[in-house]
């Protein structure tokens, strides 16, 4: 079983979401997801200042094996992207929850965050997928 931090929120498409003190959220892909994809070799980041809808594809991570879309967890505007991933996409493999963050978003409606999955729910999802 891979590492699923309690303090984070999750999506069914394997993004993790961290609530920041300034009201923004940080988004990446889970350790489980990076394990499925394997060695990362390219990340296409979202545009800063661009607005995305919930579940809209906004970034792409590519491993040697495959390309995978990253979906925006909630509606909002991108305020920052992890440019270090452009030269070091493998940071997602090394530490998916910290150095491997992909973008930071200002949600249009903070209540939308209540719709995200808890660590428990996400754990159950991963376990179901593994069987």
């Amino acid at each position: 079983m891979s590492n699923i931090p309690q303090e984070l929120k999750y999506t069914k498409s394997h993004e993790w979401v961290r609530m920041e003190e300034d009201g923004t959220i940080t988004v990446g892909i889970t350790e489980h997801a990076q394990g499925l994809l394997g060695d990362m070799v390219f990340v296409e980041l979202p545009e800063v200042d661009e607005s995305y809808e919930a579940e809209q594809d906004c970034a792409v991570v590519e491993s040697v094996k495959a390309a995978s879309d990253i979906y925006c967890p909630v509606e909002g505007e991108v305020v920052a992207v992890n440019e270090e991933l452009e030269d070091a996409p493998e940071q997602i493999n090394v530490n998916a929850y910290h150095e491997g963050w992909i973008f930071r978003l200002k949600p249009n409606n903070p209540d939308d965050l209540d719709n995200l999955m808890s660590a428990e729910d996400y754990t159950a999802l991963v376990e179901a997928e593994e069987h």
Binding site: D39, F42, E44, V64, K65, E86
Partner: protein, 378 residues
């Protein structure tokens, strides 16, 4: 297909013990990697790695008319090797329209015995086709599913294999590239050792009984040969400019437009191999496409089926693509208009990205053979 229906190789237990990530690979449960596909790739380029290739199909053809049979069955000319015991030959097996049924390697072990290794995904249709072409030939065709195959590849592969297997593969040291040897014929520890592979590195493909496969694998591991998955096998063969059946060519494609002209031997005009007539017609009417290597100038990853645009000449398509661990660039194979020059564009999602057209292979024996950067690159 559910997991319980997947076939497993004699090395399945060894893979589990070594922490393999196992996936459905054409109906077989095979290791895709044992941790990191990229590290396994480098392991083979720099030292030695081994691959479970037991899923591949081994066929023995025996009989006094075996060379005549293959002379008609294959687009390459078996006469090149028929009087050279142990010598290997790569060839396409074509249909009557000149489409590629499969690509394969044959080893002419003696005048009445040729070992053929064909792909796993094409096994059923290959065997059916090969049997249907036997006619009244004095040739006996036997599938050898009692045999296992392990590929040991890399600059140190042969040295480490000799350390691991010792007198079991005695004589292999003298093998020249693209040659094979049978050792301990008829005994339980019979070994067929070929100096061939699918990585662009030196090494062996070792065939032994299913019963002894795990012991051979473990002894190679004990000598320092690292297990590598089929993921690394794919990036290695791409760098080495080696075609993959089903991606780079199939029954709808001509070998002449798949980078395989060098394997089609028209030189003996008396040799009426299957597909010859169709290919000669193609040559007369003019080939439309050529098969090339592409290197993406900037960042990104090339993948099969991406569209290739050649200014003023038309469009083509990537047949294979990946990120090259050796070159740290996206590379691929493409079928593009014959008149294309050195530049093209590849459509990746909603962007058109510049790529350079190069001659294959990209990498052989650890050395990069193409120029990686362009003046336009920073």
């Amino acid at each position: 297909m559910t997991q319980t229906e997947l076939k497993i190789t004699p090395l399945f237990n060894a893979h589990q013990k070594m922490g393999a990530k196992l996936v459905d690979f054409g109906g077989w449960k095979m290791p895709i990697h044992y941790g990191s596909q990229i590290e396994e790739h480098h392991q083979v380029r720099r030292d030695a790695g081994m691959f479970d290739v037991c899923h591949m199909t081994i066929v023995d053809l025996r009989g006094c008319e075996v060379m005549a049979y293959l002379s008609r069955l294959l687009a390459n000319d078996v006469a090149k090797i028929s009087d050279k015991p142990g010598k290997a030959l790569y060839s396409c097996m074509l249909n009557n329209d000149g489409g590629v049924i499969d690509d394969l390697i044959i080893y002419a072990m003696d005048s009445a015995w040729v070992r053929v290794i064909v792909n796993s995904a094409t096994r059923v249709k290959d065997l059916a086709w090969m049997r249907s072409q036997l006619g009244t030939s004095a040739v006996d065709l036997t599938e050898r599913d009692d045999l296992a195959m392990i590929a040991v590849q890399g600059p140190n592969a042969r040295t480490l294999a000799a350390e691991a297997l010792g007198d079991e593969i005695v004589g292999a040291k003298q093998l020249k590239p693209f040659n094979a040897l049978l050792i301990n014929q008829g005994a339980a520890n019979e070994r067929f050792v070929a100096r061939t592979g699918y990585t662009g590195e030196d090494g062996y493909e070792i065939v032994c009984s299913n019963e002894q496969a795990e012991a051979v694998w473990n002894r190679l591991a004990a000598s320092g040969v690292k297990p590598c998955g089929l993921g690394a096998r794919d990036t290695l063969r791409l760098e080495a400019g080696m075609n993959l059946y089903g991606s780079d060519m199939d029954e709808t494609q001509s070998p002449l437009e798949s980078g395989l002209s060098w394997t089609v031997d028209f030189s003996n005009e008396q040799r009426h191999f299957i597909g010859r007539e169709a290919l000669e017609k193609q040559k007369t009417s003019g080939l439309k496409y050529k098969f090339v290597g592409l290197i993406l100038n900037g960042k990104g990853v090339l993948r099969a089926h991406q569209k290739v645009i050649v200014a003023n000449e038309g469009e083509g398509e990537l047949t294979s693509g990946t990120f090259s661990p050796t070159m740290q660039k996206a590379i691929g194979f493409a079928r593009i208009p014959m008149a294309a020059g050195e530049q093209c564009q590849v459509q990746i999602r909603n962007k058109l990205l510049d790529a350079r057209i190069v001659k294959l292979p990209f990498v052989r024996q650890g050395k990069i053979l193409v120029q990686i950067t362009t003046i336009a690159d920073k």
